[in-house]
Subunit: 407 residues, 2 copies
């Protein structure tokens, strides 16, 4: 196949997915200086629609690169397309025809669990075709739920936003002298990594969530009320962090949509675990209660970036190019944490077939036996990922966001 390179972004956006894109472009410049590196608009959709844009010129300077790295969301656009199971589906021929037409020899796909499924299928199809196309997955997800990597790009900044905001909310709630319960709902359908971050401020003696409920253990509303009654003996204003994915022992999501709608991957759509708990508290404890759904700002608040997360995400992109240059294909690039007292990472890779559609949960040993807190050891593991601030480009006090021009 060809000498050119294609990059796509897929799945829910994060604040680090553009940093990884920038890192891949930087890596391309180093390892493939003569290639055209295209961006596919809206992931796999952009391949099918042939909306590819060369990025060489648009990302030529360090200033452009830094602007991209500090812009949230996916500059190339995203999609939620799932490729057919059957590799003989004509969609694959269409994709490989576009690869041939643009002389694409390498395809980088930045995404989460579902995107790694795409990487896996395309690399399998390439092998079946005897094509020398190389396909590499680069992880991203604020949920931190991909296996084989110490953590995921985008998680550190999301965790920083969650920890910072919960600390600020706790400070806000503490002003009144009447008993109150503030329930903060945090993203993370299956895995509670991001919800756990609501506890980090306590490592520094700061206010944070008094109770933390992850989706890894069953949620019991009677036990929850008991936990609140116990905590009220210590404090007047309580802050509770709950994952959007908390569920009862029969598997029913506590905040599930009563109509039971599902998205294209068959995941149940969620709405309002915090809101429901808030109503429960008012009814059963008779005190003031308020729910705060942190919502999309968790994944797009670039005004609260973790410098560690962003600089690692750029390096991960470069590491992906290096891996391809060294002949790798069908792999996902990973972070491996070095076994030093001071936090640092190196890069590895894993066959993407091992990753696709798997979930990395918070280990149960880090969840307190009654299910309402996490261990300090877990918080200390996450803490370095949120460290460091970045000065983002601004005008008039507002961020300047980088836009890829498609026309």
């Amino acid at each position: 196949m060809g000498n050119n390179i294609l990059i796509g972004q897929s799945g829910g956006p994060t604040v680090a997915i553009n940093a990884t894109l920038s890192g891949i472009v930087k890596g391309c410049r180093e390892y493939y200086p003569d290639a055209v590196y295209y961006g596919a608009r809206n992931g796999v959709k952009g391949i099918l629609n042939e909306t590819l844009v060369p990025l060489n010129e648009q990302l030529a300077t360090e200033e452009q690169a830094y602007a991209l790295e500090t812009t949230p969301s996916a500059a190339l656009g995203s999609c939620r397309v799932k490729l057919p199971k059957d590799l003989s589906d004509p969609m694959y021929d269409q994709i490989f025809a576009v690869f041939a037409k643009y002389g694409i020899g390498v395809f980088f796909y930045i995404g989460g669990n579902d995107s790694m499924d795409t990487v896996e299928k395309l690399s399998r199809k390439a092998a079946e075709l005897g094509s020398d196309l190389r396909v590499v997955g680069v992880p991203k997800t604020i949920d931190n739920d991909l296996p084989f990597t110490d953590h995921t790009p985008g998680f550190g900044s999301a965790a920083k936003y969650v920890a910072t905001t919960v600390q600020e909310i706790a400070c806000d709630c503490a002003v009144y002298s009447d008993p109150s319960v503030t329930i903060v709902e945090i993203m993370g359908r299956d895995a509670g990594w991001l919800t756990a971050a609501a506890g980090i401020p306590r490592l520094y003696g700061e206010d944070c969530a008094d109770l933390i409920y992850l989706p890894e253990v069953d949620f019991d509303s009677d036990r929850f009320l008991e936990d609140l009654r116990r905590k009220f003996r210590e404090r007047t204003t309580l802050v509770v962090a709950v994952s959007e994915g908390i569920h009862t022992s029969d598997g029913t999501l506590y905040g599930s949509d009563p109509n039971g709608k599902k998205d294209v991957f068959g995941h149940t759509l969620l709405s309002g675990a915090a809101h429901r708990l808030c109503e429960l508290v008012k009814a059963e404890l008779g005190c003031k209660s308020r729910s705060v759904e942190l919502n999309v700002p968790q994944r797009c608040a670039s005004h609260c970036l973790s410098a560690t997360d962003i600089s690692e995400s750029v390096l991960l992109g470069k590491a992906a190019v290096k891996a391809v240059f060294e002949g790798k294909t069908g792999v996902m690039i990973t972070y491996l944490r070095n076994d030093d007292p001071a936090y640092s990472v190196r890069f590895g890779d894993v066959p993407v077939a091992q990753v696709a559609n798997k979930t990395k949960y918070v280990p149960l040993e880090h969840i307190s036996p009654n299910g309402c807190d996490v261990s300090d050891e877990l918080l200390r593991q996450i803490a370095p990922l949120i460290a460091g601030e970045l000065e983002i480009p601004r005008r008039g006090g507002l961020p300047c966001h980088f836009k890829v021009r498609f026309e």
Copy 2:
């Protein structure tokens, strides 16, 4: 009365109310170097309960002052106490007895509309008693709805948070190629200043809210759907900013609690204008829709401070002390915008009786005739208030919040 000074904070917290507290302490040090300056815990409640704490030692250094100025919420605690209408109520005797006991000659009350009511009553009671107590109100509210002042402390930072977050949300929403409507609900029960801030990014060519609905004009859901259909001709992913206080022409709040609960001041409790609109969009337009309630982070996100707001709030506190030193009482300190091309303010004051329980609305000439947008002129008026960033004290990437010690 005495030579000492008492400071209280009241009403909903903001990120600037502590900066004003710090400014008052700095002013006291300058104008009343020999006084004890007490903080009342939980506003007027702290007077009634005699929980007063001397602040001279706790706020002695510039480092302590800066930590306080960059800490959200109300470091002294707040309350929502409304003083009795009848000035012969024994509660007033109780309050003045505490003033006498602690030698309080000046009382500064930092708060919003309802708190100015307290200042007005106490200064009237002082006059009735022939007391030389001076009582001065210092405004705060993220709603920016106090009359006689160009704007209010806390509004600039809240507006910066709203503008920044809406810009980031718009960037996030734009990644998918399917039509969608994201509805962002913004605080401001009666006045739409904060909601208007969702339009500021467009002054700099950045993404922001496509439609903006303020509570100053009646909301009509048919017209809203028409507005969306029209906007869909220009863009695929729409972002709508709505005030929590939007209401139909008969005065019914669009997001009102069906049970019609009211708070102690008789205000109807709100819940979910954005959520209701989201359901409407799904049902009527059949496209994806999502609601995001910005919620309490609007008033406590100190990680997104406006340097202009905070430095002005400190100076306003100092100006309040200067006003008292010059003999003023029964006034609220105000910002007056200088008539220069470059933005700057000076300080003034107004008899608090003129302010109490009055609301400053967004002038109708700044709202587009069909009620779905605001003028660029309005945005340019607000824009300087959000300018400038402050580096807040941090540890491990998280803010270090200042705490007043009450024991």
